[in-house]
């Protein structure tokens, strides 16, 4: 507990630096990552983050120390090379995109490992810090690192905010953008540069291997909560910053723990919660709305069956007959009967079911919508009468009263549907 207070009150200025750093670079990466997620190029970020490893090693070999400027330039160079190679391969070979990304990723990483082992064998005492780039160690962010990495993060965030229109054109409709005269090639280039920069700053905290999570997961999680781009990037930034701080806290309390994996675990947790519980798009809310829709359609069908029985001068249906009409749906039929009885649409007498007057008008409405739609398809769309039923079977549940009115007036209040069955109106006798 005292650790907790010590960490979050920022008594130690180095902790404050670390927290500021991780928030800045988390937000920066999440910001860029959200755009590349929307561009459906999320895995290119993964390729770039593996590909910066040889650059980092080269920068280290040239500088001889963990000099941030050399390392950033080296990483930038190899990240840019990887980005260029993958787009060149896409244009000039018939390899599929995933094969290209996987190849680039593993080749660069393999070469990075070669350089890393060469450095390790050289016995340079500074090399211990290099392994941190593989799994990340946010605690190791020092004040002078913060100026460079934090500065880059601020630069990324500002650029993306200032040119939001251009970048959203790029990810949503690049062809339209070039048609109205935007230099899409240049915008793509700038975006790729930002992406590489965000990878470079991100690996400080999270490491080469897991960097993809910082780019992909916040955007993917935030996408479940909103459809608006401006909210989306803010939400992604918040997710990333919160997970970043929590991950840093864990590696502060347990010093042998690398930061990266914990940040990723927290991010994944946020994503899982979003996938499950987000309103509208979440798995659970979609399941619930699907279930209630299915229930409603089944109830509608039951009322329709009772109405059709009425057309054949049968005032009621036995439960057995209903079971037969909807085989394998005994449970649903029982539920619907229970619900409709409660709502006062039907009356159950012994094992016979009769429509009440309220039920009659509701069932008429459904049958009317069904037959109106059939007639509309037949008359306006020239679809043969034996082909219109399936579509009407779906539309009868969702046509609104306004649409019903429109259909009525367009079709001039028809009496019969294409199958020569009466279209029931409220005051008709059943």
């Amino acid at each position: 507990m005292s650790d907790f207070v010590y960490f979050f009150t920022f008594q130690d200025s180095s902790i404050a630096f670390v927290v500021i750093g991780i928030i800045l670079l988390g937000v920066g990466s999440a910001y860029v990552g959200t755009y590349s997620f929307l561009d459906k190029k999320a895995l290119l970020g993964d390729a770039i983050s593996h590909a910066v490893l040889p650059g980092i090693c080269l920068g280290f070999i040239l500088a001889g120390t963990k000099n941030p400027i050399y390392i950033v330039s080296g990483a930038f160079f190899s990240g840019a090379l990887a980005t260029f190679l993958s787009s060149w391969l896409r244009k000039n070979t018939r390899l599929s995109e995933d094969a290209i990304i996987a190849s680039i990723l593993s080749i660069f990483f393999g070469f990075g490992i070669v350089l890393l082992t060469v450095i390790q064998k050289s016995g340079n005492p500074e090399m211990a810090g290099l392994n941190q780039f593989i799994f990340g160690n946010a605690i190791a962010i020092l004040e002078e690192d913060l100026w460079i990495y934090g500065g880059l993060a601020v630069f990324i965030i500002l650029t993306l905010t200032a040119f939001q229109k251009e970048f959203s054109l790029l990810v949503f409709n690049a062809e339209y953008g070039s048609a109205i005269g935007y230099p899409m090639g240049l915008i793509r280039l700038v975006f790729n540069v930002l992406m590489i920069l965000s990878v470079i700053i991100g690996i400080q905290a999270i490491g080469v291997v897991l960097m993809a999570a910082l780019l992909i997961t916040p955007g993917a999680a935030a996408r479940f909560w909103t459809d608006k781009l401006s909210y989306l990037v803010i939400l992604a930034g918040v997710f990333s910053a919160v997970s970043g701080v929590l991950g840093t806290y864990i590696s502060f309390v347990l010093p042998q723990m690398p930061t990266g994996p914990w940040v990723v675990v927290f991010l994944s947790l946020v994503a899982l919660i979003s996938f499950l519980f987000a309103p509208k798009r979440g798995v659970i809310s979609r399941y619930i709305s699907r279930r209630s829709y299915l229930k409603r359609t089944h109830q509608d069908h039951l009322l329709k069956a009772l109405y059709r029985a009425g057309e054949k001068d049968k005032t009621n249906l036995s439960i057995e007959e209903i079971y037969e009409t909807y085989p394998f749906q005994k449970k649903e039929s029982n539920q619907s009967i229970k619900y409709l009885t409660k709502k006062g649409f039907i009356i159950q007498n012994q094992s016979f079911i009769t429509l009440t007057s309220k039920g009659k008008s509701e069932s008429k409405r459904i049958v009317r919508l069904h037959r109106l739609w059939e007639l509309y398809l037949n008359e306006y769309m020239n679809i043969a009468p034996d082909h219109v039923h399936d579509s009407a079977e779906k539309l009868e549940h969702i046509l609104t009263p306004e649409l019903e009115q429109l259909l009525e007036s367009r079709l001039n209040y028809p009496k019969l549907d294409p199958h020569q069955e009466t279209i029931p109106r409220d005051n008709d006798e059943l």
């Binding site: 997620f37 459906k40 190029k41 999320a42 895995l43 970020g45 993964d46 190679l85 391969l89 896409r90 000039n92 070979t93 018939r94 390899l95 599929s96 995109e97 995933d98 094969a99 290209i100 990304i101 996987a102 190849s103 990723l105 593993s106 080749i107 990483f109 393999g110 070469f111 990075g112 490992i113 070669v114 350089l115 890393l116 082992t117 060469v118 064998k121 392994n131 593989i134 799994f135 291997v209 897991l210 993809a212 999570a213 780019l215 992909i216 997961t217 993917a220 347990l254 042998q256 723990m257 690398p258 990266g260 994996p261 914990w262 990723v264 675990v265 994944s268 994503a271 996938f275 798009r281």
Partner: protein, 300 residues
């Protein structure tokens, strides 16, 4: 150069590993699932660690079972995210493998005092120790390097798998709907291919590391794909490239005193880039009809 037994053993083992990976990789590539292979090879890590912890050694069957389970779990998780949660495919892959890999690293650190497994070993392995790590029978006779036998067993099993299900694998790779119509369960074939990939990853991770397995899964088939359109030739060239990369990779690593696995991948990578450079000019010059690329999400 005189015959060096250690060099021979290492090259022999590395070749066997790259052949196993290449054989599976050909089908992964044809299914446009190279990145899924990448995801699996990351995702088996927690399975390896748990298996390691349960059995107490990396020789245990538990390790292979654990990794196999995690490999299948990763495949199912990607599928669940894509179909149920409706996350786009690239993001599903990215989220799944980063999460499972992170859990694996955390487990390694939590159990650091109980298991003899460090994160560097998992990342890039060390095939150079192969001649020292011998398989010694109860009677004390040495039968040769242990990892070589693992690789041999792996190669035999992969070979049998490909040989038995060649038709099924081919049909499901090219036309999943057609395979369903003629009664081949595409889902099961797919899952068994993924389990073979997981098993191969585990069997090879000690030697080449979990991430470099990806390179051997992807790069040789991709290179071969630049040279031919026929499946049988694709497989043959893939095997050739695997052996070549192992051979040159070893000697270059020996010369530069660096990681053998990393060098094998670098050699394969140079071959890949050179082939791409060479073939791209020929293709555009001679035919001018290189196939149009579909967007990424349509590819699965």
């Amino acid at each position: 150069m005189s015959f060096d037994q250690n060099a021979f053993l290492i090259i022999f083992t590395a070749s066997m590993i790259s052949i196993s990976c290449g054989l599976l990789g050909v089908f992964m590539m044809l299914r446009k699932m190279s990145m899924t292979g990448d995801a699996i090879s990351h995702a088996v890590l927690p399975g390896i660690v748990i298996g390691f912890f349960v059995s107490g050694s990396q020789r245990g069957l538990e390790v292979i079972i654990g990794a196999g389970i995690l490999g299948i779990l990763a495949t199912l998780m990607i599928d669940w995210l894509r179909k149920r949660a409706r996350v786009q495919l690239d993001a599903s892959i990215g989220i799944t493998f980063t999460f499972l890999f992170a859990v694996g690293i955390i487990l390694i650190n939590l159990l650091a005092y109980k298991v003899d497994l460090d994160q560097e070993c998992v990342l890039y392995g060390e095939i150079a120790y192969l001649p020292i790590d011998l398989w010694i029978t109860g009677g004390g006779t040495s039968l040769g390097p242990r990892i070589m036998y693992l690789a041999l067993l792996n190669l035999i099993l992969v070979g049998i798998f490909i040989f038995l299900f060649f038709k099924e694998l081919t049909v499901t790779s090219f036309d999943e709907n057609f395979s369903m119509v003629i009664g081949i369960p595409a889902g099961i074939i797919n899952l068994s291919l993924m389990s073979m990939v997981s098993y191969t990853t585990v069997s090879s991770f000690e030697a080449v590391g979990a991430i470099l397995v990806v390179a051997l899964l992807v790069v040789p088939p991709a290179t071969a794909f630049l040279w031919t359109k026929k499946l049988d030739q694709l497989i043959k060239i893939t095997i050739g490239i695997g052996i070549g990369a192992a051979f040159f990779g070893y000697y270059l690593a020996y010369y530069f005193d660096s990681s053998i696995a990393g060098m094998v991948v670098s050699v394969a990578g140079i071959g890949f880039l050179a082939s791409a450079l060479f073939k791209s000019k020929l293709i555009s010059g001679r035919f001018g009809t290189s196939t149009k690329q579909e967007p990424f999400e349509k590819m699965v």
